[in-house]
Symmetry: C2
Amino acid sequence: MLLITMGTASEMENDSKLSVLYYGEKTKELGKAVVHFTAVEISLDVDADRDGQVERNNPNKGSWMWGPNGHGAILLVNCDSERVYGKKLDTLNLKDMSPMMLRTRGPPKLPQGYKLAIHISQGDAETVRVYKTSFVKDYPLVLGFKNLSKEVPYPGGNAEMKFYVEGLRFPDKDFEGLITISLSLLEPSSGDFPETPIFTDKVVFRVAPWIMTPNTLNPVEVFVCSTSDNYEFLKGMRKLVEKSGYKLKICYEYMNRQDRWMQDEIEFGYIDSPHQHFPVVLDSPRDGGLQDFPYEELLGPDFGYVTRTAYNEVVSSLDSFGNLEVSPPVTVNGRNYPLGRIIIGVAFPTATEGRNMTKVVQDFLWAQKVQRPIALFSDWLVVGHVDEFMTFVPAPDKKGFRLLLASPDAAYKLFRGLQKDGHGQAKMFDGLGPGQEITVDEILSDEKLLAENNYVQSCIDWNRDVLKRELGLDDDDIIDLPILFHVIEDNRAVAYYPDMVNMIVLGKNLGIPKPFGPKVDGRCVLETEMTNLMKGLGVRCTYIDDFASYHKNLGEVHCGSNVRREPFSFKWWNLEM
Amino acid sequence: MLLITMGTASEMENDSKLSVLYYGEKTKELGKAVVHFTAVEISLDVDADRDGQVERNNPNKGSWMWGPNGHGAILLVNCDSERVYGKKLDTLNLKDMSPMMLRTRGPPKLPQGYKLAIHISQGDAETVRVYKTSFVKDYPLVLGFKNLSKEVPYPGGNAEMKFYVEGLRFPDKDFEGLITISLSLLEPSSGDFPETPIFTDKVVFRVAPWIMTPNTLNPVEVFVCSTSDNYEFLKGMRKLVEKSGYKLKICYEYMNRQDRWMQDEIEFGYIDSPHQHFPVVLDSPRDGGLQDFPYEELLGPDFGYVTRTAYNEVVSSLDSFGNLEVSPPVTVNGRNYPLGRIIIGVAFPTATEGRNMTKVVQDFLWAQKVQRPIALFSDWLVVGHVDEFMTFVPAPDKKGFRLLLASPDAAYKLFRGLQKDGHGQAKMFDGLGPGQEITVDEILSDEKLLAENNYVQSCIDWNRDVLKRELGLDDDDIIDLPILFHVIEDNRAVAYYPDMVNMIVLGKNLGIPKPFGPKVDGRCVLETEMTNLMKGLGVRCTYIDDFASYHKNLGEVHCGSNVRREPFSFKWWNLEM
């Protein structure tokens, strides 16, 4: 048996040969056989080392591994729109796609009858499309839903052919995110037999996950709605945003249809690859008046769009994205989450009936993998959003942030102190109109309110335990803000006065709902306390009057705004899973 | 602020107290506060260290990790039937379920109004059931599809309560296999408020995967069908099986309805946990005459059953389980597969139309994870099963096995040698009846047959490359068996003479289709060559006449039999993923 290998590619067909001489026992030559060889080097290449360049024949290109020492190419879901009018999720921008090269070395032509074919499996048919550069037509489709396999021309000699690969689906419950593309050299068969593959090369891509951005990342744009009744709020927001040096974007009535809850219809995130990154808005199945805003106004060139539709599920208030937040980077029992962890609110599972976030959205969030979600208990609230009792603010020390939690206990402590110091007659809601005002003494003597707040505190305490455990926090990573709740329907609660934890975080500037607390020496005690609690964090507190236009409608500053932020400098593919 | 912890559980309610004395500036006592405490220790416990015992409060019980240093409890799908008549997939055998303990230390009763509740999430509702021991009724259902949450009694004092957890679903495309069960201590609220959780403990199970058994594992039982025309075959099989020391089980006509393909309707596997393991038969969507056999005859006490139904897909010959095999343990580029890798046959993806294994079965196989599948190209065969061109036999050296491949090249080499040595007139199919016989010279002069076999060889060669790469094999791990094919329809091939690679492997005994090759000195040249090729492996070759009853029907010994084997001694949870 002879095993023959060739070290270099042929320049011409059959340009190498092997002669075999057969000898008898006494060196008499019995015969001679000559075999001609054509060596062709074929490689399907991708950016498997994630440096933005398509290297030649990376030995790891056929598999995918997480981590700084990992490997495997990356694919973006081409979910932006190159057109501003007549939008569609289109395919015109090559930068949104991953380059892939067919590289060959060998004779100018393949031997008679040999062919190259590029192919994907049926399972990947709805997840990927492959385009090719062409002199005749711009980027003809090579592979897609209807073409799982296609012959591609042999580029000839020492040449290469460029392809562009486009992701079509984000990872989800039924799609891990990995896609394989193969290239085969097919040998002609005699007679009517089909060609048979004699060599197959393959490359593996992972579709980039959708990534959320926590409050500790720098803002880029701030979004609010203009409605017929929120002039004061807009004024306050404009001042804050301009002072902070960011852009304020206003969504007007024709588009928001009096839906003021900019936080709830959308969540800003981004997708990232070594060759391209852009923001992607996740559109909630909530579909309020703002329903058309993300598709019509946000989607555009280098601004992607993704949504999940709840076909067989009830959509509840818990599907609003005030109920979808993300923590800053954390380390928990030695496990790093350099992109933080997603936080959602659900019904507590011992409840006999409760509202929940729809399964389609939860499945999507879990499938992104890189910001493993934490489910909190938020169904105890009328509106039911996690942003009603928690937020994160940047800090110069410890873990780089503090978790702020609403705390009825802290509020009662503050109010009892006021009473003890002789300020029991100080009034809340001063100047907000007749019948609104209430004294500290009156609040403290309301037994029903106390019972309600004890209940609320126990709900928040359970969440506090979960957050400590799941984010690896100590007690001194948490600041309790003095906030009272009251129960208004179905034993569910809402903030009693503007809910200071429901703030907007713009770098070092906090836009906090103006609480209209009792005044001592002409200064709001709640504002003073809040500002004191933020001392040492290097942040500035601005109190924004959202009382009439938001608080009375059961939301606050955070519910009424949204912030697009810069992406993480940390690359998701460097995560160790 | 005072942070108070208690080191031991209370024996009585309020049996610990803390007195706080308040002093003025000059040590004058201003007042005294006394707080009473009741400490209760609550733990939901499982066998998270996988030693068969439910240890107390394992710190890792709330997560799941693969590997010898891993952790996390294991759950079996309770897919056997304790009844033999009136079968159903039932729940009577506690050994099939995973024990789970609620352990408490504390006073005999919880303080007034406190409750314990055990709960699962909506997503796990169809994957798990939880039962409890009871004095009143045997094992009442605690959690299941209709009860996601249930109050459980506080066992009182230093006590424990035992639960049994039952898996309902194997891992699949939409179910990773992980299940969380939580236990919460609920605090009463004043008024009408719902109780709130003040402590939640959780445990995580992984559902045991279905595991296939390669030829290198010891047999337990051998199954064949009895049909009106297979007496000779049965006689040969009985002799082989009895000589090998195993049990032969015959499926009779009333049950097999003349379906002789015992390999194709079922695949034997098993499930394993630290507390229990049993065989599980995977029933193919093929559903031939043997359709009822696995459920009616195999399912029983400690013998499980699982199937996948192809609702929206065409079921083809590639769904028969002669097209589903598994390799012995291998190591590939440093990655260990101590349970081997599953091997299936599919259409080559460059084919414009081809038969495939149904997606439901492929999804199931991939989701088991522990024997990562390899897809070969088998659609070039009329029947289309991987067992028509490959098998594995045990070996005392190298990797512990050899891959045997059908090889037309090896057959032509052998036949040409015969011709050269003057045996061109030796006859194949001698004695099989008039018109059957054909000489070596005639075979070698058939240009059409040569072209067909060149095509077949190229198909097998492509599979050989894939197997070498995906199983980490060298050329000397592979033995080429002299087998010819011919093309009979749609350019698809079938073995020309009994396909020796389609053998049954029973420990060191191989039951090989008797090839009826040309005879030299009265001995079949193909048998001699086959026996020679197996030399050094320590196996014994027995040739079984399957010509009329199987070969003529396009199958052989392997297609007509099935072997249930002992499970691996390697535990799947020790895999490093």
